[in-house]
Subunit: 287 residues, 2 copies
């Protein structure tokens, strides 16, 4: 059986030059392109707050909204923000205004209205906010370096979880055993790296909550809680007990609860947009 | 023909719980594991210089050696370093000493002997060195933020190029059309993002050479120069003219030339280890 499968794989010989076949039937065929840049003129809305966030409540988007809610909870009033929805299934990431902020056409993207600065890539936004508010990134060298190493770890590891495992296990139009095995193994290894770290430290960076937690929790915390790709059993996520302990602890923080609701479109608990702290009061969302 | 292929793919039904099959015949089967941590007790060697680098001359390793050589060329004498070879095909990344520095068991990893600090993840090492020496990362907010966004861009984009396209196009034991198409498209899009950026700026961050260049050049510069995965024609890399201009410009810098030779094992131009500036003099390597 495996031999037959490999036989049929090896029949494919890549052409000399790759060509875009728009008939690809992947779930994301309409948003994946081999070229960059805007496909349409479209300005972005701007609200009244210092920070304008253009995002979607996926794990990468939630990294930033969790941090913003934590900053506000810690008393940083100038972290007030408008969170606008970018519907990637509608191609809004290819609008000219969005591309001006993020030439890579991915959420999240931030404009700081106090100085006009654009910031793109979730890791860069976390770092920018940490420096701007002097929060969640230690200045003491050893603690700072650990946080930055783990933040960078997430940036490099996450694509194997999301673009690798998640894509081939949950979204690709057919199940490819080799690819699922490759990325399941790597995802489990990454979970184990975190599990050993969190066996010895309360938070990823050490004793204190930091931008490393904000980056890692929306992906690996969600995985530990069985919320990603219906892979709870397949990856035996409950075996990573220390990740589970940490994920549960973070999930109970009010600011984390709020952050996870922002720009969330797939259930009636979420807020499509967030423009005020009182937006969360409108329902029993946080219960 | 495509229908037949999909038919045979869809015969695969993932099991309820994933199990490690050690009989996997991927090129990297012996170095990919679903668990983390050391497999053997092994201390790391320590040389006489302030910085001890444990690495291999792959693109991620070369990011750091290029930066160290640029720092030395700029007069930062305390950037002197010993570069020790970590042979990943021999599993040296699973030695206990290496895991103490990088619990993720990937090269490069750095120990700063002046303070004992460990640093892992290439992006974190670049950032650490930039802060330590006050070099290649602007302090002015706008320029600093651009550099950090592009540095983070590389950290998140690179896995699609290396672990995605490179793996499925060059290393996987058989050619999987769907996976090759997915990652070829994304790699081309990434090249186009850079091409538009470099059409308007001399360097990635703007007017000045920065850690964003050090991160991006070893992957995307090498791709533009036709040096990765024998994919020069397949991805039509010469169409990204501005990436090509920038890559050529960087490739002519003496420090970049030196950095690319460190921990390089696959030809007789490389230095397996580097312990002194004079190590480069031993042959006609730099001609």
């Amino acid at each position: 059986m495996p031999d037959t499968k490999k036989q049929s794989f090896s029949e494919y010989v890549p052409p000399k030059v790759w060509r875009w076949n728009k008939g690809d039937d992947s779930k994301f065929a309409n948003i994946n392109r081999p070229v960059s840049g805007p496909t349409q003129e479209k300005e972005l809305p701007v609200g009244k707050h210092p920070l304008q966030l253009y995002s979607l409540g996926t794990p990468n988007g939630v990294k930033v909204t969790i941090m913003l809610e934590e900053l506000l909870a810690a008393g940083h009033e100038s972290a007030e923000y408008d969170a606008w929805l970018i519907d990637i299934n509608e191609g809004e990431q290819f609008g000219s205004g969005f591309v001006d902020i993020n030439p890579n056409s991915k959420i999240p993207a931030l404009r700081d209205m106090t100085n006009g600065q654009r910031v793109f890539e979730s890791g860069s936004i976390l770092f920018y906010l940490a420096e701007k508010f002097g929060a969640f990134l230690p200045t003491e060298l050893a603690a700072r370096t650990e946080v930055m190493s783990w933040l960078m770890w997430q940036m490099g590891a996450g694509p194997y979880l999301g673009g690798g495992f998640g894509h081939f296990y949950a979204y690709a139009p057919f199940k490819i055993e080799y690819a699922i095995n490759r990325f399941a193994m790597e995802t489990k290894r990454q979970m184990d790296v975190l599990d050993k770290r969190l066996a010895e430290h309360e938070f990823i960076g050490g004793a204190d909550l930091s931008i490393a937690d904000f980056a890692i929790y929306p992906w690996y915390g969600a995985m530990a809680r069985g919320l990603l790709y219906e892979a709870k059993d397949f990856l035996d996520v409950e075996s990573y007990k220390h990740v589970g302990r940490w994920a549960k602890q973070l999930s109970q923080r009010p600011a984390v609860k709020r952050g996870q609701l922002v720009n969330r479109t797939w259930d009636d608990k979420g807020l499509e947009e967030r423009h005020s702290a009182s937006d969360f009061d409108a329902s029993s969302r946080l219960i």
